[in-house]
Amino acid sequence: MPTNTVLLVEDNPDDEQLILRALKQTGITETIEVTRNGREAVDYLLGVAAPPRLVLLDLKLPKMGGLEVLQALRLDNKTRMIPVVVFTSSIEKTDVLTSYDLGANSYIRKPVDYRQLTDVVKLIVSYWLQTNVSPPQEW
């Protein structure tokens, strides 16, 4: 059974801190785990007893790319059902299509504007964790 955990896979410490800040601002109670590369994320997810409720996955990661992580998660029965939101800077069409093909639940681009970022994160959280938040003004 899922624990009250949200996994953030993010190699950039700046982004990690900003996303964590945005997540906390949403007021979620879940524990936020952070892994800095793909290998670590896969190991964590396959190894952890209770899977997280949501995974925010960056694509450009050291050691193992986000898409590989996604593929690995979807191939394992234990992690198959975890909602994964790809949260990345890339707006490459191939990235988008491949992500959805591999079973990403959402593909969301990280905006440069932090205020937009907090809006987007609120939206993700409210959707996947059933937190009642208003949708962002701009997608």
Partner: protein
């Protein structure tokens, strides 16, 4: 009537002495008897006999001359007959007055001698006169009277008492008597001398006998100048000689008037027999009484005498009572040339009837079938000739020996512009219808000299055109004269066709030379093979003899069989063929040849002839080979460059990715931490510090948009077009709806023409319209009521799309710079935007092969025009 002529008699006849053997002996016997009578018995009796014989002969000659004249029309004999009557009278008177006869006693002394002189003189004058008159066609009317007057005059003269004495019993004959006798001899001599006049008028035999008679008369005169008594020997000799002369006179008369006519009659009978027409004598009953040889031959029975003339000589289709000829025979009516056709035999006859008194009629039947046939043939021939002349499409002229036209047909009238009657008064030298004035006359001269002519003449017509006529002339020998026939055939079309053909051939020759082609044409019926000049050129042998063998031998052995098989198949099946092969020309050079062939077939699909063309493609092949090499080079080059380009694009992609990913992250950090700083420590910062932070946040946001714009631009550049029909009107409405949803409080009238479509990439078209409409939306912000309009129109076959707004517009001098990336016309504080929208629009339009331009005036709105004509490939 056959005249049996013995060889001896014939011989005599040749010599002109035709004296019947018996007659001579009888005459000599009579003379001997008389001589004996005179010497032994009584002189008076002798004298009487002699004179009576003389008178008899005279009367006989008179009767013959007088009565044969109507048949012979011989003036000589008539004159002789007329005179000799009186001679006979005088002779009788002389005999009656002879002394001792005792019949007539007169006072006139020696009246018998006087009568004798008158008689002899009269006789001589008659002979001279008759001979002199022989040349006349008619007897002078005064002649008979003249003879009678002379007779009476002489009688009166000798009865006169003053007439000189003629005899003296003492001395015998007086000198007057002797002189008179000599005078008479002279007159006889004159007659004899004139005998030549009779030549050609009287039979030669008769002339000779008359000459002999006159000669003997002269001879008899001499004894009469010598005698002393009337009974002495001289007198007897004179009378005997005189009798001889009378004998010759008699035979001459008999020959002329009896033997000659009978001989003529006999010849007539022969003529009748030899007459080629069937000639018969028919009696009134229509029975044949006499028939000539022709009639006997034509009659169908052995002996036609007594047979019905109708049955033998008239058309049997006619009954005898209806036969016109028989009717004429019954009525004894003469007929000349009654024409009858025997329908059964198809023969034509001319029948003539000549009445010959009670004996019936002479019936002459002439077979004129051949004549009739010849006449018909002649008439038909004439009609054929006329028809030919009339219906001939060629102009025909006939020239006679006199250098004048003797006939011309209608076409000739048309050609020469003269009527036939006018032409018949003209000759070839009189008309000048040809381009060269005397061409016609020269042509006919040539015809006259050489017997034939064949030449072309050119006739300029009134309308300016020229007719070309071929004159074929021939000399026609007729039995009586020579004609020259000229036939003018119109060869204008043929000449034009020949010229065109010649021109075409020249063109073909030229074309073949230019195209390096040759052609052959094989007639499969005659086996004839023709080569065009190009064939010799390709084979390099101008003296080659056209033959398939020669052509095949020029082909290398390895390809020869294949080519031969193609040609053979075309000949057998009429199939077209095309084959490339090599060929060694006469100089040993190898040529590449393309042979194309086809067969021309008859209605049953059997090939009649096979045509083939040979094209020298050596040069073309060399060029093609070079081209191929160039192409291969080029392709290699393109492949290399493309690979390099792809690599570059790939590098650009990864660069863009890196840019978008890695540039965003620090920006996001600056922005995010600025926000955090503002949120968390904002109250510790002065207002100035907070403003700086806001500016940092704003700057990083713009930077982010800038990066996004760059990315968008790069994506548009390297995107492959996926063209399909797009409904631009619908897309425009959707884009507008989104914008309106974004800021619902603005008053914007958006007008879209319905049904604007384009062959374009749908996602790029959406991007294009988003930018253009977004642009219009942005720059009409100041308007109380904005108006945006999207329409299209056709211009020069291409569709031009218009996006019109009533926004702030721009100066036209910036119209070109609008579409440069990151180029902005307005300050950051006035209108947001990276200056990348119109650059993107321009890229999209270019991608589609179209073009974009704008028109505007500041404050007066702007119009953006664009086309999306797909780029023409290749």
């Amino acid at each position: 009537m056959q005249d049996q002529v013995t060889p001896r008699a014939l011989d005599r006849r040749k010599r002109g002495l035709h004296i019947p053997d018996e007659g001579v002996w009888v005459g000599l016997g009579v003379l001997a008897f008389l001589a004996w009578l005179s010497v032994t018995q009584a002189h008076v009796l002798f004298h009487s006999f002699a004179e009576v014989i003389g008178a008899t002969v005279a009367f006989l000659v008179s009767a013959i001359g007088w009565h044969t004249y109507p048949l012979t029309r011989n003036v000589f004999f008539l004159a002789l007959g007329s005179g000799f009557f009186w001679v006979g009278v005088l002779t009788l008177l002389h005999a009656l007055c002879f002394p001792g006869a005792g019949i007539v006693e007169t006072d006139v002394p020696y009246l018998d001698i006087r009568l004798w002189l008158a008689l002899r003189f009269f006789e001589a004058v008659v002979l001279v006169t008759a001979i002199r008159c022989s040349g006349r066609s008619h007897v002078p009317p005064y002649m008979h009277v003249g003879f009678a007057v002379l007779f009476l005059g002489l009688l009166a003269l000798i009865s006169q008492p003053w007439f000189p004495e003629v005899f003296d019993p003492e001395t015998g004959l007086t000198s007057f008597k002797v002189t008179s006798e000599y005078l008479i001899i002279a007159v006889f001599m004159l007659a004899l001398a004139s005998m030549g006049r009779l030549q050609g008028r009287v039979d030669g035999v008769v002339t000779r006998r008359l000459s002999l008679a006159i000669g003997f008369m002269i001879l008899s005169e001499f004894p009469f100048t010598l005698y002393r008594t009337v009974a002495d020997m001289q007198s007897v000799l004179g009378h005997v000689v005189n009798l001889v002369s009378y004998w010759f006179l008699l035979t001459a008369a008999v020959h002329t008037t009896l033997k000659q006519p009978l001989r003529v009659l006999s010849a007539d009978a022969h003529i009748y027999e030899a007459f080629p027409d069937a000639t018969v004598v028919v009696d009134r009953e229509g029975k044949v009484r006499q028939a000539n040889g022709a009639a006997r031959r034509e009659a169908t029975v052995d002996n036609c005498l007594g047979e019905s003339c109708h049955a033998l000589f008239h058309p049997l289709a006619l009954a005898e009572q209806d036969c016109p000829v028989c009717q004429h025979i019954r009525n004894v009516q003469q007929v000349r040339m009654l024409e009858l056709e025997d329908i059964d035999t198809g023969r034509w006859y001319h029948i003539s009837l000549l009445a010959i008194g009670d004996a019936g009629m002479i019936h002459v039947r002439r077979d004129v079938s051949e004549l009739k046939r010849a006449e018909c043939a002649l008439r038909e021939s004439e009609l054929r000739y006329r028809a030919l002349m009339t219906h001939a499409t060629d102009a025909i002229l006939v020239v006679g020996e006199g250098q004048k036209f003797v006939d011309a047909n209608h076409e000739a009238e048309q050609l020469f512009g003269y009527s036939r009657s006018e032409l018949l008064h003209l000759g070839p030298a009189d008309i000048h219808p040809c381009d060269k004035a005397d061409a016609l006359a020269h042509a006919f001269n040539h015809l006259r000299l050489h017997g034939s002519v064949l030449r072309e003449l050119r006739f300029p017509l009134r309308d300016g055109s020229v007719k070309v006529k071929e004159l074929a002339g021939a000399r026609v020998e007729l039995p009586t004269n020579v004609l020259f026939v000229g036939i003018f055939r119109d060869v204008t079309a043929r000449r034009a066709a020949e010229d065109a053909l010649r021109e075409n051939e020249a063109l073909l020759r030229q074309a073949e030379e230019i195209a390096r082609m040759g052609s052959w044409d094989r007639n499969l019926v005659t086996g004839e093979l023709r080569w065009s000049e190009g064939m010799y050129r390709i084979l390099g042998d101008s003296a080659a003899k056209p033959s398939m063998q020669h052509l095949l031998e020029a082909i290398p052995e390895c390809e020869r069989n294949e080519v031969e098989a193609f040609i053979t198949r075309a000949m057998d099946t009429g199939q077209e063929f095309r084959i490339d092969h090599r060929l060694h020309d006469a100089h040993g050079r190898e040529r590449s040849i393309r042979m194309l062939g086809c067969a021309q077939c008859d209605e049953f699909g059997r090939p009649l002839r096979v045509f083939g063309t040979l094209m020298d493609i050596t040069e073309a092949q060399r060029i093609a080979q070079e081209l191929k090499l160039y192409r291969e080079d080029l392709e290699r080059l393109v492949t290399d460059r493309t690979a390099k380009l792809l690599q570059a694009v790939h590098e650009l992609e990864s660069f863009s990715y890196t840019v978008s990913h890695d540039l965003n992250a620090p920006l996001r950090a600056i922005n995010g931490f600025s926000c955090a700083l503002l949120d968390d420590c904002g109250e510790h910062l002065p207002a100035e510090g907070r403003e700086y932070l806001e500016r940092m946040i704003s700057a990083t946001n713009r930077m982010g948009q800038l990066i996004d714009g760059l990315l968008m631009l790069s994506r548009v550049i390297r995107r492959d077009l996926q063209l399909q029909t797009c409904d631009l009107s619908a897309v425009a409405r959707e884009v507008f709806a989104q914008l309106r949803a974004g800021s619902g409080d603005r008053c914007v009238h958006f007008t879209v023409e319905a049904g604007i479509t384009a062959e374009a990439d749908p996602s790029l078209v959406r991007l294009l319209l988003e930018n253009l409409i977004g642009n219009a939306w942005k720059f009409t912000r100041e308007r109380d009521c904005a108006a945006i309009e999207f329409t299209s129109h056709q211009d020069g076959g291409a569709t031009v799309y218009l996006m019109r707004d009533n926004g702030i517009g721009f100066e036209m001098q910036y119209a070109e710079t609008l579409f440069r990336p990151f180029h902005r016309l307005h300050g950051w504080d006035e209108y947001e935007g990276m200056g990348i929208g119109l650059a993107t629009v321009q890229r999209i339009v270019s991608q589609h092969g179209g073009r974009i331009w704008a028109e505007s005036r500041p404050g007066d709105g702007a119009v953006f025009y664009f086309t999306l004509s797909p780029r023409l490939v290749g």
